[in-house]
Symmetry: C2
């Protein structure tokens, strides 16, 4: 140490010899923390006797967690306790009774892939810094395109289905009005877009973000199953034509491009039994598909896939930054896909899907989809058998929407008062299940229908017993209502 | 087993009893893979005798990696070998001699936080599914706002500085023309935006994405240090006024909102010694700051911070999706921040910064910044001393731009031929260092300046010895040029 100090180089009061980090202590900390993660998260993932969540109100949780960042660091012991606390009070989304969202469960292979990428900390823009992950992304996109049924195509993984929808909307705009990239929308005739009234809220967000405006979104009426009615689309097109023509601009460019958001449903493509649910998907110009949902690839894993293979994605998004995408490199720079993206640094999300696919094979993925849909089917049949449960509609996929009518409402006459009272039931049951920590299940009102439960089956850790538990538990929690 | 089979429930040919996953085998796989990650990535992170990269051309690497996804899954043994291969052929961005990007190095605490969040797999939109991570994000944003020097503010973590820039640009637009959210830009007077000619390419990407158009971006001339010249801003404003007025629209709304992209530089705020570099930052209306860069929080960790505290972010971005953001919940729904975001599912990126900050304290973070800047200063002085090295300009921060003039060019007369030849030098050296795997360093041309190296110091594993190595290695690689 003395020797080292003798040769020390001091700049601005900082000794520059040797690194300042204690690697050994750091590695030990990682090892100890990994042990906690293994024991407290991974090994408990299939244990239904564990709580799904340990509910604390925000103000209480703030007091429990020591959130303040101070001038001085904490000891490893204190930090490991913090890690335990974070795990304890976080929702266990891998628990077999977490039915709250469109993701759930644990996949050990994708988890390993995610640990690898966190350790390697790559950014996927150029082949030189991210050789493996760029090739993997290319292979995964190619395979997904095959399942859609396109002969060729292109694509990019990006941070979420909402962002995929924005990408696609901008791409459609670019395809027919490439000049908007440079000129912008000002002074142009209104652009309008047509989407289902049952579409994800990201369509509205995208319309406002891209400068199109939410009022220029024409929502198409759907049938009782939530499917767009083709005749209603034609009606809206006629309406838009009148409204836009009524404006000051004469020119009208009517072009159609069809994009499909299959963020949740896309994974049915993997199943030979259920892919018919997406019959005709190959006719879409672009498809958003999130393997982090039904296929458990881990948040986030979202691809936007486009049928075009003429370089549209790159032409639309490129900014040709010379400092990153040099053209005088010693390798084929067509592998530097970073300029196809709105992001600069980008995570290697395709990799986790890839490793999982390698591990399970297409048949393993297919088995997951088939089982989730079979479990949903089982739940539907049980709901029909039980008193007090009422299905909203026959599901086609893995989400089951139903009401629970508690004992006190069962003899009540159908009418506004009944529905008003029923509306209050789901929030109460939800509060009770959260505070008990026995399961998590979402509720919502929708299109004039009062609050109902939306059950989602995804995880391969879920079994028939969990479906039975779900219904038993609702009855138990609501028996006094 | 027999008993179980007797009670088996079969739906659509799928047995629904018990889970289909072998948890024990899965856990064992995770354990074995973690051992590989520990040995091959984490423990080697500070080892300069390891290669930074093991270069393979795309076609060769495709053959080495078995990229094809098949119907049948692979054995654990094969998968573990795949993991090893992925690690082997990936660039070691945590290597002390990885100087290629604005991120580098390893932080053990943020890494642990990232392993925790991957295992928990949360999405940060509502308090009910993400209680800990929402509170952590709130605390981190509050602290970052303090360092900027605002009395209050708001913010959101999002996937990258480019996306932060888009968020901010849209927010500025909303602040002064809220009607654009609904009406869109069509038929409105042109919107123009002013930015430095040295700005990140994401500004152009954002202008086209948001429908403003890249031609409506007015680039302001900068001085020789790349700083915007205030008089030039005024000139561009005058120019824009003429050009926009020249159009068909009479109304002009001139409002100014200042946003600052401190994705890379923001971390200087943590250093009492260097925060003066960001003097006046509190006058900006919004700031983008990426702790995944200088502070090693791991890709991605990017905050957009806004001075406004009147709910602008929420008003601008909300779509009020009833299925996710129910208002009849049993807790204070103001904690459900998901509607402030363009994304639906969102990763808990604030958490890794938080755990690192808890571990190191502000002083530990400060020490990192100070040391990186001192090392850059050391490198600059060494460059000045050595024959053949030429600094482009005196750096103020941790990036050092320089040319290496190889022996054969040192006696050449200054002129077009000299610069043309020098332009070819950096790519050759880069190719050689990549193929040798000894270090990684970026090069680029810029504003009429031929290819030069851009050295970036970030990692606390970097020492003076690595700076000396860098210069020695360039000399060695280029001695015959």
């Amino acid at each position: 140490m003395l020797q080292k100090k003798k040769n020390a180089v001091l700049v601005d009061g900082v000794i520059l010899n040797g690194p300042i980090m204690d690697s050994k202590a750091g590695e030990k900390f990682v090892e100890e923390a990994c042990k906690i993660i293994m024991e407290e998260v991974i090994q408990k993932a299939d244990d239904v006797t564990e709580k799904v969540c340990e509910w604390q109100a925000p103000e209480t949780l703030k007091q429990i967690l020591d959130l303040e960042m101070r001038d001085t660091g904490e000891s490893h012991q204190k930090l490991l306790q913090l890690c335990r606390d974070v795990i304890q009070y976080s929702v266990k989304t891998s628990h077999p009774r977490f039915f709250n969202q469109l993701y759930a469960g644990i996949d050990y292979y994708s988890l390993v892939a995610r640990f690898i990428t966190e350790a390697l900390n790559p950014s996927v823009y150029t082949y030189e810094v991210s050789p493996v992950f760029l090739l993997v992304e290319e292979a995964v996109i190619k395979k997904m395109i095959e399942f859609i049924g396109w002969e060729e195509g292109d694509g990019i993984f990006n941070p979420g289905g909402s962002v995929s929808n924005m990408y696609a909307m901008n791409l459609a705009r670019y395809k027919f009005c490439p000049e908007i990239k440079e000129k912008g929308l000002s002074g142009l005739p209104r652009l309008v877009l047509f989407t289902s009234e049952e579409c994800h809220y990201s369509m509205k967000k995208a319309a406002s973000f891209l400068g199109i405006g939410t009022e220029n979104v024409y929502f198409i009426k759907t049938d009782e199953r939530g499917k767009m009615i083709p005749e209603e689309l034609e009606k809206q097109v006629q309406r838009a034509r009148k409204e836009v023509r009524g404006g000051e601009h004469e020119g009208e460019r009517r072009r159609s491009v069809c994009r499909l958001c299959a963020s949740w449903g896309g994974s049915a493509l993997i199943s030979r039994k259920h892919c018919r649910l997406l019959h005709g998907i190959h006719r879409a110009d672009s498809v958003a598909w999130n393997p982090h949902k039904m296929l458990l690839a881990g948040i986030q894993c979202c691809a936007l896939l486009v049928k075009d293979n003429s370089g549209l994605l790159k032409k639309c998004y490129s900014a040709k930054a010379a400092y990153l995408f040099q053209q005088d490199k010693f390798y084929d720079v067509s592998y530097d896909t970073g300029d196809k993206s709105i992001q600069c640094s980008r995570r290697p999300d395709a990799f986790k899907f890839w490793l999982m696919w390698k591990a399970l094979g297409t048949t393993g993925l297919e088995e997951r989809v088939n089982r989730a849909l079979a479990l949903a089917r089982y739940l539907v049949e049980e709901i029909k058998k039980r008193e007090g449960f009422q299905l909203l509609l026959e599901p086609e996929y893995a989400n089951v929407c139903f009401w629970y009518i508690p004992p006190s409402l069962r003899r009540m006459e159908d009418g506004p008062e009944f529905w008003q009272k029923l509306h209050q039931v789901a929030p109460i049951i939800k509060e009770r299940m959260m505070k008990k920590g026995s399961m998590m299940l979402g509720y919502q009102p929708h299109q004039g229908k009062v609050n109902f439960f939306r059950q989602v089956v995804i995880s391969p850790h879920v079994s028939r017993e969990d479906m039975d538990f779900l219904l038993d538990e609702i009855e138990l929690l609501a028996k006094d209502l």
